[in-house]
């Protein structure tokens, strides 16, 4: 959990360095989030928060409570709203209010992680999941209901050419094929989803995307999944991600969803062609 906070803190530090607002008046943001941990002295809490428009993307980070009473009665798993006060040099939370409680997988640490969910099969509906895009905006699978979607998983520092880079090269080829095909569906979407939420910030996604996608983002978004999202999503797609040796070992899952969000085709591993994926997307539109 702590590791996850580091990039967030770095990002905050960067944001803090920017002379964004010339006035020194504190800015207040109303934020919603889930409490991941509360320090015993109630002076800090780690909160997985939604995007804060105009300030930062959805992420998990540690916030300070100048007044410990702000965190009275707030415990792990609570869904809260709070005010984030940001000055030029500092930030802290105020007015924390409990809105409810969640039982997000993995929230309570290792025992909660061991949730074995059966993998979904063709014809099953993939539940809605939320991701962060290259601009830090939230994107949901439900946003694409009504047309076919192909999604695959990667991380930007993936060193094996046959793995993530191959998936994204295949996506680019698929995009070219569908753009030229006369009887291709009018609307379709490719999603490359990073599982490395510690490292793959929106900025990194954006520059990585440019390598594969050029300057034309049509039909293709690069997203990053939060760890909790991944904990629920990965087993459903039989996606395996293992943090080992300072990198990730993982398998490859490429999934085509139809207009209703049902799984219409699954490509396992790297032995499939862009033409096969383009055909599967066209099939899913029918």
């Amino acid at each position: 959990m702590n590791l996850k906070i580091i990039p967030a803190v770095l990002l905050l530090a960067l944001v803090g360095c920017k002379p964004a607002s010339p006035s020194s008046a504190p800015r207040n943001f109303t934020v919603h989030g889930i409490v991941m941990s509360v320090a015993t002295d109630q002076r800090h809490a780690t909160i997985k928060h939604d995007a804060i428009p105009g300030y930062m993307a959805a992420m998990t980070m540690n916030f300070a409570a100048r007044n410990p009473e702000v965190l009275n009665g707030v415990s792990v798993g609570d869904i809260i709203s709070f005010t984030l006060v940001v000055t030029e040099t500092n930030d802290w939370i105020e007015n924390a209010q409990r809105l409810g409680i969640t039982n997000v997988i993995g929230l309570s640490g290792p025992p909660g992680w061991h949730v074995v969910e059966p993998a979904l099969a063709v014809g099953d509906t993939l539940p809605d999941y939320e991701f962060t895009d290259e601009n830090g905006a939230l994107v949901r699978l439900a946003d694409f209901r009504g047309h076919p979607v192909a999604l695959t998983f990667f991380f930007t520092t993936c060193p094996l050419p046959d793995y993530c880079p191959r998936m994204n090269r295949n996506f680019e080829e698929t995009r070219k094929i569908l753009a030229l095909e006369t009887n291709a569906p009018a609307r379709w979407q490719l999603l490359s989803i990073s599982f490395d939420s510690n490292f793959d910030t929106p900025q990194r996604l954006s520059s990585y995307a440019r390598v594969y996608r050029g300057n034309d983002p049509a039909h293709w978004l690069f997203l990053v999944a939060a760890t909790n999202t991944l904990a629920s999503l990965a087993p459903k797609l039989d996606l395996s991600v293992w943090q080992e040796g300072g990198s990730f070992s993982h398998n490859l899952r490429t999934v085509v969803l139809n207009a209703q969000g049902k799984i219409s085709r699954q490509f396992d591993g790297n032995d499939w062609t862009p033409q096969q994926l383009a055909d599967a997307i066209a099939d899913a539109a029918r």
Binding site: L230, A231, E244, D268, G269, D271
Partner: protein, 221 residues
């Protein structure tokens, strides 16, 4: 070494003697260090102790497919001494290392008709027979002696979980798919299907240790 000493009673001898002593000292330290390294390397070798199963573990019945597409059941392995490892082909660090150990074990047991190597995948949807054949080729696997098995995920999980490894190592992102503990191990199974001992497959010495154990089990005293 001080200029003042040069003018003292034995200026020249003193200098040569010191040089000589220095050389002796340096040589001595080099030899000492070498000895120390050798001794600690030997100690390390001694340290590679096998891990005994925490409870009796027996090879359960199964029916799986090898890298040539052939069906393999437990019956085929009856009466064979086995070295068993765990892998998935998307694995970048642990599995290649352990597979190198397995390749070494295969080489060291070439003329043993009653020895088999078995690698079980934890990602069967990806690791189809052709994918496993490609992995095996990288390590010079002889498909008649080193069986890479895939098949139904539940069968594989049950086989690994019942016969070999404990489950639930906590955070699934910090363990091999399937969430097993000790997936870097190589298990040695006797002719009756009993797991006798495990060795840490990430250690170079594991190959020799496994082979020694196999020798013991092939020729019961």
């Amino acid at each position: 070494m001080q200029p003042a000493e040069k003018t003292a009673s034995q200026p020249v001898q003193s200098r040569e003697e010191r040089l000589f002593l220095l050389i002796i000292l340096v040589l001595g330290s080099v030899a000492g260090l070498g000895f120390w390294f050798a001794a600690s390397a030997l100690n390390r070798h001694d340290e590679l102790r096998g891990i005994r199963p925490e409870k009796p573990r027996q090879l359960v019945d199964f029916s799986l497919t090898d890298s040539t597409g052939r069906q393999v059941t437990r019956a085929e392995l009856q009466g064979k001494v086995l070295a068993v490892s765990f892998l998935f082909t998307g694995c970048g660090t642990t599995c290649p290392e352990v597979s190198q150990r397995m390749a070494e074990i295969q080489r060291l047991t070439t003329n043993q008709p009653d020895t088999r190597l078995v690698s079980l995948t934890v990602d069967p949807r990806t690791d189809t027979p052709p994918v496993l054949a490609k992995w095996g080729a990288r390590y010079g696997a002889d498909p008649n002696r080193w069986l890479m098995l895939t098949g139904n995920k539940r069968v594989l999980q049950q086989l690994i979980g019942t016969s070999f490894l404990s489950t639930n190592s906590g955070d699934p992102f910090n363990s091999m798919p399937g969430n097993f503990r000790g997936t870097e191990r190589i298990a040695v199974v006797d002719k009756y299907g009993r797991v006798r001992i495990y060795f840490d497959g990430l250690r170079m010495e594991a190959a020799a240790a496994v082979v020694a154990e196999i020798e013991d089990l092939r020729t019961p005293r």
